[in-house]
Every structure is written in C-alpha cells, then in structure tokens.
C-alpha cells in the first residue's frame, strides 16, 4: 500500500493537501493543453494529407515530363542543359509558437522572379517536354515548401501531444490517487490516535477518581 510510506502527522497532511491541490490544477491545465493541441494537430494532419497528395501528383507529372524529355534528348544534352541553374532559392525560417510547441515557418525568395526566366538553357537544342517538366517543377515547389512546414509541425506537435498525454495520465492515474490515498490514510490515522488518546484519558480519569474518593 502506498500509504505506509508517509508519516502520519499533521504537517505531512498539510503538505500533501497542498500537493494534491497543485496536482489537480496541473492536471486540469495539461488536459486543456492536450485537447487544444489535439484540435490543432488534427487540422494540421488534414492539411498535410491534402498537400502530400498534391505534391505527389505534381511531382509524378513533372517526372513523367522529364522522362519524356530525357528519352528525346541525349543524356549528355540533358545534363548540359540543366548544368548551371539560373534560379536559386533562399529560405527564411521563422519560429511560430503553437501551444508552447515551436514550429518552423518558412518563406522563400527566388533570385529570378520572372517565371519565364527559370530555364537555364537556350530553347533551340532542347525539347519542349523539358520546359514542361521545369514548369511543373516550379509550380509544385511552393507546395513542397508548405508540405515541409506542415509535416515538421505535425511531427513536433505529435511529440508534444504524446508528452502531454503521458503527463495527464500520470497525474490522473498515479499522482492524484496516490496523494488522495495518503491523505485518507493520515486522516484516519490521526482520528485513530485522537480516539485512543480520548479513551486513555477517560480511563485515567476513572482511575484518578477511584483513587481520590473510593468512587465506584
């Protein structure tokens, strides 16, 4: 039994009562945190699912164009055409705080803002499918970035939810019952002590009276 470890004194009782109060309040707060995190997490999951499907479709389309391009052009030509990219992307990361989970937020800047400027080659010696492929790639890129953000947020939030859930459960099923049981044990022990003291006093009084007055 958990109650045997505590010394049944009033001081410990007061201390335990304080802890129980804190545990109850912490439990309530953590439960609220978990619920809110879960709500936001499910939104993120939904968004992630949509984005992932979109990215996968977009990439598959881009790859198939690239496949066609590479079968029309010789591998050397293809490599040469894409050897030196004209476009470069710089990423900017900010940190957003969602219920104490720090999730990244990306924004990006491209060197060339004109969408027709991304082709790093002359059009004369390359096939049109390559242009298609790059075009699709550039379109799917924005979604890919969003996907990275959402997926990372999802992972971080999942971790936090797991942690919070464990804490809530530990408080609910271990800490709080244990504390209440200890408090009950001490209260009963104190009452018992009080009873035995009372009985002893009554007995003593009886003995004293008998001695003094020969009182029966």
């Amino acid at each position: 039994m958990a109650g045997t470890a505590v010394t049944p004194t009033r001081m410990v009782l007061n201390h335990l009562k304080g802890r129980l109060k804190t545990a109850r309040r912490g439990h309530k707060l953590l439960k609220d945190k978990r619920d809110e995190l879960m709500r936001q997490f499910l939104d993120v999951v939904k968004e992630n699912k949509v984005l992932r499907e979109r990215v996968e479709d977009g990439l598959t389309a881009a790859f198939s164009s690239l496949q066609v391009a590479s079968s029309i052009m010789s591998p050397e030509m293809l490599e040469q055409a894409l050897l030196y990219p004209r476009q470069s992307v710089e990423l900017d990361m900010k940190v957003k705080n969602v219920m104490s989970v720090k999730v990244p937020q990306y924004s990006f800047q491209t060197k060339n803002n004109d969408p027709s400027e991304i082709y790093p080659y002359g059009f004369a010696q390359t096939s049109g499918e390559l242009d298609d492929a790059l075009d699709r790639m550039a379109k799917v890129f924005e979604d890919m970035l969003k996907l990275a953000e959402v997926e990372k947020s999802m992972q971080l939030m999942a971790q936090e939810i797991e942690k919070t859930r464990r804490r809530v459960n530990a408080l609910e099923y271990v800490m709080i019952p244990e504390l209440s049981e200890n408090i009950k044990y001490i209260t009963m022990k104190l009452a018992e002590n009080e009873n035995s003291t009372k009985v002893r006093l009554m007995k003593v009084k009886e003995m004293v009276l008998q001695d003094a007055h020969n009182y029966k």
Partner: protein, 122 residues
C-alpha cells in the same frame, strides 16, 4: 535558441539565409536543380546516408532536406533521429517511379503517436 540554424548566437533572432537540399537518384534530382534547390545525387543507400550525414551535421545551413522515398525507406533510423528536433525538416518525396506511400505512412505514424491509435481509417 538551440536547434535552429543561424539563430544560435547573440540576442534576438539572427536569421541567415537557409538552403534546401534534395537527395535522390541522379535523374530525380536533376529537375530540382533547375528550380534552384541544391541537388545531391546519390546512387546507393550508403551514399545517401553519407550525404545525409554531411547535410545534417552541426551548424548546417540546410533547413529542409527532401529525400527520395526509395532511398529513405532504408534510412529510417537516421531520419527518425530528426523527428523531434525543430530543424532540419526531412521530407520524403516520391521518386521517378511513383509514390511508395511512405509519406502517408509517416503521417499515419505521427497520428498514432499523438492519439494512440489510427483515427484516419484505412
């Protein structure tokens, strides 16, 4: 704030420009190179592992690493190491031969982790 590249020193947020890398087969990454991402071709899993280590070492400026599913499926332990750290984000993308469904698996496992059970169905 530890864990975020470029923000580790001084007061406030010193955000430097970060990069995005793509690890995959040679013909997969070539397309990404054209849109301005850093292409890291890797023909085998061992090579991909090497590249991944290189890209994720301390003080690395890569914030997002896209990795082809074909290679990612054998690098799961390495990828899982970064699951709980805020940066870098390692994201699986389908390869040339279509999706293997690993990306959606990652989503399911995150849900399972958070909720304790798969509530998405299927």
């Amino acid at each position: 704030m530890p864990g975020y590249p470029g923000m580790s020193y001084g007061k406030g947020c010193v955000i430097c420009m970060l990069k995005i890398a793509v690890i995959g087969g040679k013909d997969t990454v070539i397309g990404f190179k054209a849109v301005g991402l850093e292409a890291c071709p890797a023909s085998s899993v061992a090579e991909a592992r090497q590249v991944l280590h290189e890209l994720t070492r301390e003080g690395s400026e890569y914030a997002i690493i896209y990795i082809e599913e074909k290679l990612a499926k054998d690098l799961q332990p390495e990828i899982d190491r970064f699951k709980d750290s805020p940066s870098p984000a390692i994201i699986m993308i389908p390869g040339r031969n279509g999706s293997l469904g690993l990306g959606l698996n990652a989503l399911k496992s995150a849900v399972e982790r958070a909720v304790g059970t798969n509530i998405l169905g299927d």
